[in-house]
């Protein structure tokens, strides 16, 4: 439009200028010395005006029209982004050709920039999605992760790190590690790894860290700490450090428990095995001097082999329960009936020791959903223990009651036996625990009460307990919910 306007103004200007020269020459004859000169001037002026009018105007109009076409072509190119060939025409062919090339170059550049922009936008959205994904992953980790920059300031951290080290996650960015990590050893390690300047540098240690203000237990926990270097922007130097802390406290406890269990189990098994081995060797060497001695040896070997077998059974049962691979076969267990059966089974043993077994189950129905065989074993173990540690002439009483408030059945086994020293009460349900002074009174595996505890508490979500007074007797009890709560 601008080109058309300018051309029009130019054309009109040329006509006006010609006319002005002619008119000026004819209306101001007094400025010229002679009449001939004035006539000539007027003639030239009028001729110029006519010439400008005849040539200038059509030319101006032509140029204007061409420029208009060019202008429209440019407009179209701009709006479509596709260059439109410009109409040539001999007159403007040079100009339009150059313009055409410039427009093509410009259009190419435009479309290339536009493509770059689209790629950049796409990349940005992918990056943003990846960043969010990485951040979500970081925050979903149980391990504590802390990323620090080249100035030992926090650049990224997750909630477990904040909880472990005791800082507010929202206020942690750009805070120096000296302020937010109370553990001196950990701070030192992070700084050392960063200062090493070696990208491949990675440090992995087991380290014990005391709980922080946000950690309720405030006890020391064991961590597997990995500290690794992160590259800087040029990917050549160390730009920061990532510290990952994995809590291995429970893992270590389990590992220690396992090795203790293996050590204790092997120790406990060696004792009856020693007897079996020794008596067999004595029989081979004909050290038993008569048939009665031989029979005694056989009995001992049998009793000790049974002991080994019981120990292995108990160990396997406990291990299975601990590993969570025992499935309870739940049914409605009538505890009154079950107790009666246990007492029947144990009657010969009690009679041999002159111990009276008393059934205090009452006339009501005492039932709960439980694994019957397991419950039988629990009551059996408790009654068997009571008989073992009650002197001749004593009493063992088994009672049961319904506790409607807690919706559970309470079974108790009381005896008039030796009682349990106060310092042994807490350890009584531990694996392989046996009261030293009572070892000579009765043989045992040291696993019976632990199995009772596991069956009642782990499998049936009930509870067990004991109250005792040395010299007066003990009362063991357990509670099992009416409805099965176990897995």
């Amino acid at each position: 439009m601008r080109y058309v306007g300018l051309t029009t103004i130019g054309s009109v200007g040329a006509v006006v200028a010609g006319l002005l020269v002619g008119v000026t020459a004819s209306v101001t004859p007094h400025l010229l010395p002679t009449a001939t000169e004035r006539t000539a001037a007027t003639f030239i002026g009028v001729s110029a005006a006519i010439t400008f009018g005849l040539v200038g105007v059509p030319l101006a109009l032509l140029v204007s029209r061409r420029l208009k076409i060019v202008s429209e072509a440019i407009k179209e190119t701009a709006s479509n982004g596709v260059p439109r060939p410009l109409p040539g025409g001999e007159m403007l062919s040079g100009v339009t050709h150059r313009l055409d090339r410039a427009i093509h170059a410009w259009a190419d550049r435009c479309s290339s920039l536009s493509a770059s922009l689209r790629t950049a936008e796409l990349r940005l959205s992918v990056c943003e999605a990846e960043r969010q994904h990485a951040e979500a992953t970081l925050h979903s980790l149980h391990d504590a992760v802390l990323v620090t920059d080249a100035f030992n300031e926090v650049s990224l951290a997750n909630e477990p790190a904040a909880k472990l080290l005791g800082f507010e996650l929202s206020e942690s960015t750009h805070r120096p590690i000296d302020e937010i990590i109370p553990d001196q050893v950990l701070r030192k390690m992070i700084k050392e790894v960063r200062q090493s300047g070696v990208l491949s540098k990675q440090k992995r240690i087991e380290h014990s860290i005391r709980g922080t203000r946000l950690n309720e237990a405030n006890a020391r926990s064991d961590y597997d700490v990995t500290i690794a270097c992160l590259p800087d922007q040029k990917q050549t130097g160390v730009g920061g450090v990532v510290t990952i802390l994995r809590d291995i406290t429970r893992q270590k406890e389990i590992s220690e428990m396992k090795s203790d269990f293996v050590s204790q189990a092997s120790h406990e098994l060696r004792t009856p095995l020693s007897s079996i081995n020794a008596y067999i060797e004595m029989l081979i060497d004909a050290e038993a001097q008569d048939e009665a001695s031989r029979q005694e040896f056989y009995q001992i070997i049998k009793a000790e082999a049974d002991r080994v077998s019981r120990m292995i059974d108990n160990m396997l049962n406990i291990s299975r329960i601990e590993a969570g691979i025992v499935s309870a076969e739940k049914s409605e267990v009538d505890f009154g009936k079950l107790i009666h059966e246990v007492l029947e089974t144990m009657q010969p043993q009690a009679r041999a020791e002159d111990i009276k077994l008393i059934d205090r189950t009452g006339p009501l129905i005492y039932s709960a959903q439980a694994d019957r065989d397991m419950m039988f074993q629990v009551v059996m173990n408790l009654v068997s223990n009571a008989i073992k540690y009650t002197p001749e002439g004593g009493r063992v009483t088994v009672a049961v009651e319904n506790d409607d408030e807690s919706r559970s059945v309470l079974v108790s086994v009381s005896d008039t036996g030796l009682g349990i020293p106060p310092d042994a009460i807490d350890k009584l349900f531990d694996k392989f625990f046996r009261i030293d002074n009572y070892k000579r009174i009765a043989k045992g595996t040291g696993l019976g009460l632990n199995l009772v505890k596991h069956i009642v508490e782990t499998v049936h979500k009930g509870s067990v307990g004991v109250s005792s007074e040395v010299g007066m007797g003990s009362r063991f009890w357990f509670i099992v919910p009416f409805e099965f709560q176990g897995g």
Binding site: R270, M282, E287, R440
Partner: protein
């Protein structure tokens, strides 16, 4: 006729004391038994055995405590000890210094092995005594 050597067998497992003492009695030794460290100390002071065979883990007083007590007393100071253990115990320097344990035997053990060890230790002990008398 000289008196038979006296052996004290100490273990809280009755079957173990029974089988070891039977093996040694059959071999002609005068065997005494005790069921824990305290009882063993009393018996050792009264019968002055030539050798003690003791379990490590026992109530009241364990095998190492018993050995340390024996080394403190003049009459039992040189008494050689065979230690029976179910834990595969390896003696440390301190325990070696504080006790007179000459051999550690792991459970399950063989009664024949015990008899062999007793005989070897008595022989050794006799030579040592003769040496000290000669000196």
């Amino acid at each position: 006729m000289s008196r038979p050597p006296v052996i004290l067998v100490v273990d809280d497992e009755a079957h173990i004391t029974h089988v070891v003492s039977l093996k040694l009695s059959n071999a002609g030794y005068d065997v005494h038994t005790a069921a824990d460290g305290e009882e063993a100390l009393e018996v050792a002071l009264s019968v002055t055995p030539d050798i003690i065979i003791t379990d490590l883990q026992m109530p009241y007083m364990n095998g190492l405590e018993l050995c340390a007590k024996l080394k403190e007393r003049p009459t039992t100071r040189n008494l050689p000890v065979i230690l029976l253990t179910a834990r595969g115990h390896a003696l440390n320097e301190e325990e070696m210094k504080q006790t007179n344990i000459r051999q550690v035997m792991s459970k399950p053990f063989s009664p024949r092995q015990i008899l062999d060890s007793v005989e070897a230790l008595l022989k050794e002990h006799k030579i040592e005594d003769e040496d000290s008398l000669a000196a």
